[in-house]
Subunit: 129 residues, 2 copies
Amino acid sequence: MNIGEVAKRAGLPPKTIRYYEEIGLIAPRRDGNGYRSFDGQDLHRLAFLHRARALGFTIEDCRTLLALYADEGRASADVKAVAEDHLARIDEKISQLQSMRDTLGELIRSCAGDNRPDCPILKDLSAKP
Amino acid sequence: MNIGEVAKRAGLPPKTIRYYEEIGLIAPRRDGNGYRSFDGQDLHRLAFLHRARALGFTIEDCRTLLALYADEGRASADVKAVAEDHLARIDEKISQLQSMRDTLGELIRSCAGDNRPDCPILKDLSAKP
DNA sequence: CTTGACCTTCCAGTCACGGGAACCCCTATC
DNA sequence: GATAGGGGTTCCCGTGACTGGAAGGTCAAG
């Protein structure tokens, strides 16, 4: 399989796949002409990466997860720990965003949004502490 | 005021303040020795930026907001539009994260997290579509 | 005179790619 | 056989909003 084909099947852009090779997440063979040649296992790893990235895991998380996946003697606790750390980071981000959202929503609600210059949003931003 | 002083008062690291000058968000005077010299208005702008950034506005949003703030003839509708766009982007991000969170939470819940290798998290990540 | 806390500029790195240039390879068609 | 196109390759730069660090100038105190 050339890169275009595997890209289509894994749902990742060729650029991303080359990048993943560069940082050592995959290591496809090369044909005589220098083209990358992907086999079923490469495709499988790429699909894994695609899914893991879609869940928001960092590249380093993905590296760890792939290693655990390859390790037959892994403990599921190790996998769970990676996922829980990630979940905690997500929750933190969500709550930060929620807090922004709440403040911002309040400000927007209180702004007339007409052609007059008075604006509680600017007033808030420029408020002295 | 030197940069250290204004940094403390505005709650921003000196590095960030230098960066803001570099991209044209502020333009403090210079003393004879080459040191930046900040006045009350500079501090005010920096506090404004600090607050706007804390609400998640991008630097370009901040530039726009500062311009609107300086414009006595602005329409509050313009400010509100910037804020509403931003709110929409935040909402989108939150819902993406929520969706990750939900999936991830399910996977974590279903993983024993012991010393056996069986792991529904890895199973999901490696599932063929 | 030296120490130490400031300040300055400039360069490199972050994260996970994406755009684009310049060039090679393979197949099909005229 | 020349050419057109649609692959592929490497390499370098840019993203956003900073952060870290090196190398060096400035200032007040002891």
